[in-house]
């Protein structure tokens, strides 16, 4: 920023600042900052015309202002404000005032009086509105100062009578944001403004300008959000606003009604035009349902969305939303007699499905048939049929939420949801499939419904098919024909789209284990066994056959009679599949066969699972190794690591846990190896090789600790502290190695100080965990801290070395759930022999499709890396929209990577892999620094970077054959 300022200005004004600082007894060098206020003052004085001044202000606004100089700048601006005749300049100044008061660390109460004063003489409505906006900013910056807020609210009330809508708008906004929320405060301050803010805002519900009406409703909602309990009296006012001419007003009014219905669900309100009464939430529900057929789609979306969260509504109201034909005034409590009448009167209308059923009949009581005021009737039928897909999606979401809370409603809405599977817009179809999955606990699909559902399996969109597989995983089917149908359709799907293989197998796994009794009668047919004849043995590699077997084996798990129906080769295939697809085929107890997995007897609860026991036992063994000689320790560690790695491969549930501990042990092993006595006893220059080993070990430990910290989901702070501790040890090791290899002390100073800082920050971050780290490296280090700070680097190194050797091995507690982030690139497959040809200098798009598991916040962390044969690496950040979330803990990345290179003589392979980016700043232990509001609107300040950023590769690299051709001229 200094570049823009005149040198002269520097000299004139910055010196003063510097001298003031010299008075302070700090020895640190302070960078001189050019005073903002001075520069601005000069600029503004130079301005000859309003346009000039405006330009200066605009330029000024592009740069942030330091906290210290804010007040000065404000004074200058105000001074200029009073002199300025041009409204646009005043407007800009007013907006700058607001912007400046937002500066972090600046307390704007000193400029409040001035800001209020400027309001008095202002004539321009726009400037007034802007000034009020500034006051709003000031008010929000001073949250715990009721008297200031009171004063501001008073000012706002005074300007509520302004003739410009903009000013009234801002006043209402201000009252909404700053109005007193607690009743007590309002009584104490007996000023005029302390009158009920709700009433003041409520008076503006009938303002002549729709924008002001909207602002009034929004202010009311704001008050609600800030914790003020709105009065029930507003309800009737809000209901009137639903019939407003303007859509923003209606949209806001719908929200207000919703809020009130949540506040007073059980109050009783009268029904106009009758002397009966109903619960407020029911009435509000009816009214919002009504808005689902509003003229404006914005309002319709709003209404449909809100319906979903009104769960206290009575069930008979809820069910009417799916029924369009019941037209009677259903708002009253229905007696049996009335219901009979309704049935009669609803028959008065023709349904349009049969010809001639609308022939006029004798009417008994047409008065009971009420076409419009019927409230809730058919709201969802309308919503789901809406023209705009946004409304349809909102309606499906609302259906989902309501169905989750009401099983009977779930049963009823099933037909409608199934119908939505045939919507013309894919997003709607997808949404309704997801919805169905969410409510699948409450429902059982009928055969015809299943038919419609399965028809969607032929959809050409992969997302839809996979969502449907997910749905089938957790659906209840009522008949064996249903199962058969599902299987047939899934196999059809498999032949049509072979890439769906995994997903279909998984789907069949759950289908089988959910419906063992329904699968049982189908087994002979499915395996095509014959009572007399031997049938040919099916091809074991046929995905369709595997699919059938997966279904049967999973059903057989809880159906002991089923294996009797198997033929010989089925058993053989079982053994093969159990080994090759262990995640899909469960362990079975088969008669007369010894099976590896038969060790798992059903009586053992998962807690006492032997593999878990094994894990814990081996860990305990390791933690008690203190008594062993160093060699024994190393061997034990090596064996345990090997065991754990194998365990992780066998038991997918324990993989995360096993890998995590194995990595930790690996780190420890490396540390022990690096610290071996004999390495250090020799003079350093002679044993460069050993030093290389030690420094490599330190480096690897560092890497592994980052992996441990960022690649596993479910890591708790208990683990984080141990990981950080390990990292600290690695850093100490690094320091020692460097001290031994470098000559002279100069570079060591910096390193030592840095290390000590790290120890310090470690202590600050994990102060609560320290007591549990008795006897550890850091514990000892902290005891020696006073000595370390004062001693020379060489001494520090010595101390470190001994502490490092003497420190005990920390026990790593295991969290409940630990999962390792994994990624699997499905596409490109890396099998193609045909190179991807493109003209050099242009780009080619490579489709990348990958599944990610247990990745937190993949949008921010997952990157794609492309390695070219010349060593050039390219890092690509996928768009947030490229990530889909098919299930909890799982993500799917479908993106395009653009490749380009100069011409090659022959095709060559590039590597594509996924990386997990981390930033040690964002580690789970430290909280994020709040963003400064100033930098949001202006140029972004460079973020305070002292964390280490890095990436961890977490997928197997895939090779892609490409061939950039030279461009033809």
């Amino acid at each position: 920023m200094a570049a823009h300022l005149k040198k002269r200005v520097y000299e004139e004004f910055t010196k003063v600042v510097q001298q003031q600082h010299e008075d302070l007894s700090t020895k640190k060098l302070r960078l001189t900052k050019p005073s903002k206020s001075a520069a601005l003052h000069v600029d503004l004085c130079k301005a000859t015309s309003p346009a000039d001044a405006l330009q200066y202000l605009l330029q000024f606004a592009r740069k942030p202002v330091e906290v210290e100089s804010v007040e000065g700048v404000v004074r200058i601006l105000l001074e200029h404000y009073y002199k300025e005749n041009d409204a646009s300049v005043r407007l800009k100044i007013a907006s700058l005032l607001g912007l400046l008061s937002k500066t972090a660390g600046f307390s704007p109460d000193c400029i409040m009086d001035d800001a209020i004063n400027t309001l008095q003489n202002e004539k321009s409505h726009q400037v007034l509105a802007q000034l009020l906006d500034t006051l709003l900013v000031i008010g929000t910056k001073l949250p715990d100062n009721p008297s200031v807020r009171m004063r501001l609210v008073e000012v706002a009330c005074k300007h509520l009578t302004d003739s410009s809508h903009g000013v009234r708008n801002k006043c209402l906004q201000l009252i909404g944001c700053l109005g007193p929320v607690e009743k007590g405060v309002a009584k104490e301050a007996e000023s005029q403004a302390a009158r009920d803010v709700q009433k003041i805002i409520g008076d503006h519900f009938n303002d002549q300008d729709p924008r002001v009406r909207t602002a009034a409703i929004k202010a009311m909602l704001q008050l609600h959000e800030r914790g003020l309990k709105l009065q029930q009296a507003i309800y009737s006012q809000a209901c009137k606003l639903l019939a407003d001419d303007y859509e923003q007003v209606r949209s806001a009014a719908v929200q207000l009604i919703w809020v009130l219905s949540q506040l007073y669900p059980e109050s009783i309100v009268p029904i106009p035009s009758s002397n009966e009464e109903i619960r407020l939430v029911d009435d509000a529900f009816g009214k919002i349902c009504h808005m689902v057929s509003d003229g404006s789609w914005v309002v319709r979306v709003q209404a449909a969305k809100l319906l979903g969260s009104m769960q206290q509504v009575s069930s008979h109201f809820l069910e009417q939303t799916l029924d369009k034909k019941l037209m009677s005034d259903l708002r009253r409590k229905r007696t049996a007699h009335e219901r009979a009448k309704e049935l009669y009167s609803s028959g008065e209308f023709s349904s349009g499905r049969k010809w001639g059923d609308d022939a006029p009949k004798e009417e008994i009581d047409t008065g009971a048939v009420n076409l419009i005021e019927s409230g809730a009737c058919g709201a969802f039928v309308h919503g789901l049929e809406d023209e705009m897909y946004e409304v349809r999606i909102a309606a499906v979401e609302a259906l989902c939420m309501l169905a989750q809370s009401s099983p009977s409603f779930a049963e009823k809405c099933l037909d409608f949801l199934v119908d939505m599977f045939n919507d013309e817009i894919e997003e709607v179809r997808l949404q309704s499939i997801h919805t169905m999955r969410k409510i699948s606990n409450n429902i059982t699909l009928r055969e015809d419904q299943l038919d419609t559902v399965l028809a969607v399996l032929e959809d050409s969109s992969r997302d839809i098919r996979e969502a449907l597989h997910e749905l089938l995983c957790c659906t209840n089917v009522s008949t064996k024909e249903g199962i058969h149908l599902a299987l047939v359709e899934l196999l059809k799907n498999l032949t049509k789209y072979p890439t769906d293989r995994e997903s279909i197998w998984k789907c069949l796994k759950f289908l089988g284990s959910r419906h063992p009794t329904l699968v049982l009668p189908l087994v002979p047919e499915l395996l095509s066994t014959h009572p007399f004849f031997d049938t040919p043995e099916p091809d074991m590699d046929d995905p369709a056959y595997i699919a059938v077997l997966v279904l049967i084996f999973n059903a057989a798990k809880s159906c002991p009679t089923m294996p009797a129906l198997f033929s010989d080769h089925t058993f053989r295939h079982y053994a093969y599949l159990r080994d090759s697809l262990s995640h899909l085929v469960p362990p079975l107890r088969l008669p007369g066969r010894k099976l590896v997995s038969s060790a798992v007897s059903p009586s053992i609860t998962p807690h006492e699972d032997p593999s878990q026991q094994f894990l814990h036992q081996s860990l305990e063994r390791v933690y008690n190794f203190q008594h062993l000689d160093p060699r024994g320790i190393q061997e034990l560690l090596e064996f345990t690591i090997r065991d754990l790695q194998r365990l992780g491969e066998l038991q997918s549930e324990l993989a995360g846990m096993a890998d995590f501990t194995a990595t930790y042990l690996q780190c420890q092993l490396l540390l022990i190896k690096a610290l071996q006595e004999k390495l250090w006893n020799v003079a350093a220059p002679l044993y460069l090789k050993q030093n290389a080993l030690a420094s490599a070990a330190a480096k690897q430990i560092l890497e592994e600790t980052y992996k441990m910290e960022f690649m596993y989901s479910g890591v708790e702070s208990r683990q984080v502290v141990i990981i950080h501790h390990m990292r600290l040890q690695a850093k100490a090791l690094q320091l020692i190695v460097t001290a031994r290899t470098t000559r002279g002390v100069e570079p060591l100073f910096g390193m030592c100080e840095k290390f000590l800082q790290e120890v310090d920050s470690f202590q600050r971050c994990f102060i609560s965990e320290l007591p549990q780290m008795q006897g550890s490296f850091v514990d000892k280090l902290l005891d020696l801290m006073p000595r370390l700070v004062t001693s020379k680097p060489s001494e520090v190194v010595k101390i470190l070395q001994t502490t490092l050797r003497q420190s005990t091995f920390l026990h790593l507690p295991l969290p409940e759930q630990l999962h390792r982030a994994t990624a699997n690139i499905i596409e490109p497959t890396g099998e193609s022999d045909n190179p991807l040809r493109f003209t050099s200098g242009l780009v080619v798009a490579l489709d990348v499709d990958a599944t990610l598991e247990h990745v937190q916040d993949p949008q921010g962390t997952v990157k794609v890396q492309v390695l070219y044969p010349d060593g050039q690496a390219q890092l690509i950040h996928p768009k947030p929209a490229d990530f889909r979330n098919p299930g909890p803990g799982r993500h799917r990345l479908i993106t395009q990577v653009y490749l380009s290179h100069t011409a090659w003589t022959e095709p060559c392979q590039i590597e594509v892999r996924l990386l997990l980016a981390y930033n040690s700043n964002r580690s789970k232990a430290s909280t994020r620094a709040p963003k400064s509001s100033w930098s949001e609107s202006l140029e972004a300040l460079p973020p305070p970077e002292n964390g280490i950023e890095g990436t961890i590769p977490f997928s197997k690299p895939v090779k892609v054959y490409i061939m950039p051709k030279p461009a033809r001229r």
Binding site: T161, S163, S350, G352, R353, L371
Partner: protein, 600 residues
Amino acid sequence: MPEIKVTPLGAGQDVGRSCILVSIAGKNVMLDCGMHMGYNDDRRFPDFSYITQNGRLTDFLDCVIISHFHLDHCGALPYFSEMVGYDGPIYMTHPTKAICPILLEDYRKITVDKKGETNFFTSQMIKDCMKKVVAVHLHQTVQVDEELEIKAYYAGHVLGAAMFQIKVGCESVVYTGDYNMTPDRHLGAAWLDKCRPDLLITESTYATTIRDSKRCRERDFLKKVHETVERGGKVLIPVFALGRAQELCILLETFWERMNLKAPIYFSTGLTEKANHYYKLFITWTNQKIRKTFVQRNMFEFKHIKAFDRAFADNPGPMVVFATPGMLHAGQSLQIFRKWAGNEKNMVIMPGYCVQGTVGHKILSGQRKLEMEGRQILEVKMQVEYMSFSAHADAKGIMQLIRQAEPRNVLLVHGEAKKMEFLKQKIEQEFHVSCFMPANGETTTILTNPCIPVDISLGLLKRETAIGAAPDAKRPRLMHGTLLMKDNSFRLVSPEQALKELGLAEHQLRFTCRVHIQDPRKEHETVLRVYNHLKGVLKDYSVQHLPDGSITVESILIQATAHSEDQGTKVLLVSWTYQDEELGSYLTSLLKKGLPQSAP
């Protein structure tokens, strides 16, 4: 009292031959100009002699508006403009203008070439007629003349169908034509803003129907077709060439694609291709889905649907045929029907409304034996299904539209009398507006209460709002000004300006009044007492005691003189101008009450 007069020449308590005359504020507008399906004689066209016996129609009508291209809304247009004679503007939307001549030509061919009628309009007449058409865009306000303006709204029903708002000054009428409130596979839903017309003329074809959700209907339809085709049967779907036909085509096309079916689908008439071309062009008039996806693939480019040849009807095996016309009263659909009717495996699906007297209506009413021409008896063994696909609003839709538009009166046309009766009752009960349902030739008169806009000069407005309390939205305000009626416009101006404009000299009107007060004191003392009294009472006004012995309250002058006969009585002369009438009369009444006894 101004009034709006409505006379249906067709479609009054009837379906077909839509033609409605509206006179609003001295303007005459004809809404639609259709023919009737059920008749082949003079009754098929509206009776234009009602408008005028001998003069040119152009002199009596300001404009003609056609809502959409269905023949019962535009079929009589060439006859009306070329044979009866009308040269004024005809308004319709762009798609209507494009498709309308194709249908008219087709209609002409059938009547003249097939039936051999003479004295019918010619191709040239259709062309000439279309030259008089002015095309309008959605929501475009078209100024027909200086006062009459029209505006089109989206109506759904078929491609290019529109509702029209006709507005003269503050009076307005909305004519819906045919409309549909539920969106379908290729069209959106009708939409009106809160235009609060004096009169809403709405169709009421489905006045007593509330239809199932369209998804149920679609599913049922597809299921029926699918089952029949799987059985090896043939499906006949009689349709009108344009409108529902495209909807059903899209439906079947997507279904065929999804289910990978192989049975052929045929579309019977040649004019479809031409019309489909227009469907592809007017993408902006279709629904959200087609508008969003047409870049990848235009939905109207059918893959599975082929043109029909007469010989195909005898082919063995399953097939689906769309054939015109929709009510089975003539043409190809009837021919195919006669061929297939004998086989119980086959099916005919009637997707819409059938007018009484047509074969379609007969079989839907359950008749199994039909008498064809030549005394032939046809036994119908095939299945007959009805599936309401016609894109008309149902009862709930009609009510919804009324709710959206908030009209002051409703008038029902295009429906059966009995059903209208029912809906009329509902509307009156629900919205508390009067509802009319005139028969053909019957005139309905609606009284309106139009508001009259008056321009006010800004200076006056500002001056008047500055006086007194701040503006309050909830209270009416009294203002002073002069109403000037000049050149057909009203203006509210300040008196000075009015005088200036009219070239008149200002006359002052003063009221004087004498008030007798019993006061024995001297004149100037009396004046002082009056002054003190007034000062005490009228705190908000400026009361001044002038040196010449008179008192002014604002501009009101009070002078006191002793009575010439009785010195004990003082005469107060109160004089005020006309503008201060209010204050002046208050003052006199105050003084008449006398002065307070205990003067300070």
